[in-house]
């Protein structure tokens, strides 16, 4: 456990000393979302309809953008081999890595979302739904994304490939989350959708670290 803790501590320190790591996805998130009113229509009534979906698609893209680097450094500098040789539980390590990624990408996005919601004229009723859906949904994105990041960690041009692998798997999260926001905007109950997101999060916490651990072991013999 101590190795996992030490690695996570190192990762948080690295992030703190290199703010670009969490700022860049955040700026990307803002910019992508800002493109929609420019490209489609700036009518607030129209924007109100698509705001939830736009924010969620932007969050998804921003998450993908920052996933590429998740394991790359550890593979390159040999830390990965040390973890595997240490006999430490890779399950905990994978979970911890996903947690770090979420703190760097998902959490700032969640905190930033009300600002974007206001700019995209999201109905007032939907703010809470947007916030909750991002808070529950973005950890799933980090966990599933960690599988793709582990599979492509040793590859030179892993970034685009990673998006290809992971985007189809993100669809259920996107559907339930944006539907929660949409329904909240219409004044309808949205607890069911959040419940589904929670169920998916529970599943992801239990099973994705297994896949991440298996995929990381591949990099050893590469």
């Amino acid at each position: 456990m101590s190795l996992t803790r030490a690695t996570l501590r190192r990762d948080f320190i690295l992030v703190a000393r290199n703010p670009g790591e969490w700022l860049n996805p955040l700026m990307f998130f803002l910019m992508v979302a800002a493109m929609f009113p420019l490209a489609v229509d700036q009518d607030p009534r129209f924007l109100a309809k698509i705001a939830g979906g736009v924010i969620w698609v932007s969050a998804l893209l921003a998450t993908l953008l920052s996933l590429d680097a998740l394991f790359k450094m550890d593979v390159d500098d040999g830390s990965l081999e040390q973890w595997l040789a240490s006999g430490e539980s890779m399950f905990a390590m994978a979970l911890g890595k996903a947690l770090v990624h979420w703190c760097v990408s998902g959490l700032p996005l969640t905190l930033m979302s009300p600002l974007l919601a206001m700019m995209l004229a999201l109905p007032d009723d939907a703010y809470a739904a947007l916030f909750y859906s991002l808070a529950i949904g973005t950890p799933i994105l980090s966990l599933l994304g960690a599988v793709g990041a582990a599979l492509t960690a040793g590859l030179r041009s892993g970034g685009l490939l990673l998006s290809l692998l992971i985007l189809p798997l993100y669809v259920p999260v996107l559907i339930f989350a944006s539907s929660a926001v949409y329904h909240a905007g219409l004044g309808m109950p949205y607890a069911g959708q959040l419940g589904f997101l929670g169920a998916m999060l529970a599943l992801a916490v239990c099973f994705t670290p297994l896949a991440v651990a298996a995929a990381l072991k591949l990099n050893l013999s590469r």
Binding site: S157, L164, P168, V171
Partner: protein, 248 residues
């Protein structure tokens, strides 16, 4: 029975035995496909009664539905073969998994393409964000992902294992994706256009369809076997038994 199955399983795990067994099987499988395809297509396309609503355009169902079913089953097969490889490191399983991916993707494309052609006369548009069409599209994306990952990794063994892990993750996700897409679609388009439901089908329409479905599964088996044999020929090209086999 069980012993027979385990023996068969072990025999199929050996490239040499696989070649010998499929030598015997292939003519039969091809004969079954030819007969079933002939019966199913002639009956389906010519003799099955005309649909009272869709006229003759419904006849594409005899290609569309089998292709869609096989495309979905092929993904599960690929994941099972991948799991077998991950657990027991049987090379044959990896070759089978690798052989399945492009075949499954092709059936997926056939299903989407015939669906689009069918959509034009019945729904008035080639593409609609119908739940089934959308989940087939996502299945195609999953196939593309597995194939792209396999291509991208240079070391062969690594590429098999990576693709196996990804297809296992995918196979767990397929039901979730299907369910969520269904739920999403019924939510946004309540009075949606439904495909002709099976139980309401006339028996003369149903039998050719069932024959076509069974035939397409056999066709899948043939294609997988042929592609796996190619993999064997390539990977075992330096082995003695293959040289002897090719010379005799």
């Amino acid at each position: 029975m069980w012993q027979w199955i385990t023996r068969l399983y072990h025999q199929l795990g050996s490239p040499k035995w696989f070649m010998q067994l499929t030598d015997k099987w292939l003519p039969w499988l091809i004969a079954v496909t030819a007969l079933g395809g002939l019966y199913g297509l002639v009956n389906g396309l010519l003799f099955a009664p005309v649909d009272y609503q869709q006229g003759n355009s419904y006849r594409i169902i005899y290609i569309h539905v089998p292709a869609a079913l096989v495309a979905q089953s092929a993904f599960v097969m690929m994941a099972i073969a991948g799991a077998v490889y991950l657990v027991w490191r049987i090379k044959m399983a990896a070759w089978v998994a690798k052989a399945i991916a492009p075949i499954g993707a092709s059936f997926c494309l056939i299903a989407l393409f015939t669906g689009a052609i069918w959509g034009k006369p019945t729904w008035g548009t080639y593409w609609i964000w119908d739940a089934r069409l959308t989940s087939m599209l996502l299945l195609l994306f999953l196939y593309f992902g597995v194939m792209a990952l396999q291509k991208a990794i240079e070391s062969e063994e690594m590429s098999y294992r990576a693709a196996a892990i990804l297809s296992l993750v995918g196979v767990v996700n397929i039901p979730i994706i299907k369910y969520s897409v269904n739920w999403w679609n019924t939510l946004h388009q309540p009075a949606t256009l439904k495909l002709t439901e099976k139980p309401t089908m006339h028996i003369d329409m149903l039998i050719p369809l069932l024959v076509m479905i069974a035939t397409t599964y056999v066709l899948l088996a043939i294609l997988v076997i042929l592609r796996t044999r190619n993999e064997i020929l390539w990977h075992e090209r330096k082995s003695k038994w293959l040289k002897q086999r090719l010379e005799s």
